[in-house]
């Protein structure tokens, strides 16, 4: 698979969504996500874009009727004219499943906008710190990825999604399974630098032992906590080993607590714009 080109990674904090009423939450979030769409599409044909929003932390809020993602997507559509869909089904790996769906069914729409929204509007202690993965950091991660022009995409046997690796580990032996998946995928992409999720000390130790042979970006758990799908994108945005004029290939990876995982080959170059609120 040709790498998806990273046009933009924007990371910002999500505290402005905490402790507010549902109406205010949707106003603020739709405004933030719509502005990103405006910036990404400025001066370009908007038919070449699709927009997806995903989240791990907004679970009870959605299924309990506090937040209606359909309304959020409608607002974004009204403001940007882009189709926008929401999913939280695959938890931290939702962004990967959404990209796979896009590449398999809309390969001619070359620009993909993804918003990974993690916030804690109710201030639930589970979503701050828990026994499963430790501390959670909450960020809104806005991605603009672009498919390079590739005539082969129209051929049915050469779908652009074939290069993505998606699957499910056994949650009971997740780190073991995940390490094996990493080894398999790195055989396929030996030139790529791995950007994997942040894990707290014990979990990290097990993973680190198995990725030592590959090029990988540092774990930033101490600084951010676990980031529910945003971690690989923060790592790429923070990669100080890449010279501004250099092109570098990354394998962005996420894994969810139920074992869903995804690996996406990407490339950043001198045109890639990356920003992290509060600096890096």
């Amino acid at each position: 698979m040709t790498n998806l080109e990273i046009k933009t990674i924007e990371i910002c904090r999500s505290e402005f969504l905490n402790g507010v009423a549902a109406g205010t939450f949707i106003d603020r979030l739709s405004s933030k996500l719509s502005k990103f769409a405006e910036r990404a599409t400025a001066g370009r044909d908007d038919s070449g874009f699709s927009y997806y929003v995903c989240s791990s932390t907004l679970d009870v809020q959605c299924s309990g009727g506090w937040l209606d993602p359909a309304e959020l997507c409608k607002r974004i559509h009204r403001a940007s004219r882009l189709y926008c869909s929401y999913s939280n089904a695959m938890q931290c790996a939702s962004w990967g499943f959404l990209i796979r769906h896009h590449l398999a069914n809309k390969a001619d729409v070359r620009n993909i906008l993804i918003a990974i929204v993690d916030a804690n509007p109710f201030g639930m202690s589970f979503w701050e710190d828990n026994l499963f993965w430790g501390r959670t950091g909450h960020r809104i991660t806005l991605l603009h990825l672009e498919m390079p022009e590739h005539p082969g995409y129209s051929a049915p046997l050469e779908l652009p999604c074939d290069g993505m690796v998606i699957g499910k580990c056994n949650p009971a032996a997740m780190l073991y399974d995940y390490s094996r998946e990493i080894q398999k995928v790195m055989t396929r992409y030996p030139q790529h630098t791995l950007a994997i999720p942040y894990f707290e000390g014990k979990m990290r130790k097990g993973i680190k032992r198995n990725i030592g042979a590959y090029s990988y970006l540092p774990d930033l758990y101490e600084e951010y906590g676990h980031l529910c799908g945003a971690d690989p994108w923060v790592s790429i945005a923070r990669d100080r080993s890449r010279m501004p004029t250099e092109s570098k290939c990354y394998l962005a990876a996420s894994i969810a607590s139920e074992g869903y995982f995804c690996f996406l080959p990407t490339i950043a170059d001198s045109r890639s714009e990356m920003s992290i609120e509060g600096g890096s």
Binding site: V60, P69, Y83, Y86, N88, N105, A256
Partner: protein, 180 residues
């Protein structure tokens, strides 16, 4: 644009519920005792009964999706899932021909505009006590090129829906509208 739509829609009915031993799966909300103000902020109807569990819901989705993919009834299925992480999704839902969204209407509209046929599985079941589900569902074939499902395909789908404690009916029609 004229779009052929057909399928089944209905509602779970507690009177049709048969006795069955299933794993007890109560919603294990990640809340502490001093956080019980949180469910009070949710907007669910406590008069809507829970008729099926997560386990049965996923079993239903698994049977339906596996059937339509194995029998080649469709090459793309959109499925509505509102609450992740209670139990793992069945493997059939991870198939690359399946896409899962909270609300599948927007995605369906985009696919219609692109001329892509698909099956929408839209079940809004109340699966735990704070869920805003209303126990309605629809399984809808959508064809922007006007193709209808054959009798056999409809029968395959009906057989799976028949495993639910539900009342449902078939409907078909042509929708005219702007999907661009």
């Amino acid at each position: 644009m004229s779009v052929a739509m057909e399928g089944f829609h209905g509602r779970l009915d507690i009177a049709k519920r048969r006795r069955e031993f299933i794993p007890a799966l109560l919603m294990k909300a990640p809340l502490k005792e001093d956080e019980l103000h949180i469910p009070l902020q949710l907007r669910f109807n406590d008069r809507v009964p829970m008729i099926v569990s997560f386990y049965e819901y996923y079993r239903f989705l698994d049977r339906l999706v596996a059937t339509v993919l194995q029998k080649d009834i469709t090459r793309l299925v959109l499925v509505r899932v509102k609450m992740p992480a209670v139990i793992p999704l069945p493997r059939s839902l991870l198939d690359s021909r399946v896409a899962i969204f909270y609300d599948i209407d927007t995605e369906s509209r985009e696919l219609i505009a692109r001329g892509s046929e698909h099956l929408c599985v839209d079940a809004n079941f109340k699966l735990y006590s704070w869920s805003a589900g209303d126990n309605t569902f629809s399984v809808r074939w959508v064809s922007p090129v006007g193709r209808t499902l054959g009798k056999e395909a409809l029968e395959e789908i009906r057989e799976v829906i028949d495993t639910l404690p539900a009342i449902f009916e078939y409907s078909a029609g042509i929708c005219h509208g702007e999907y661009g």
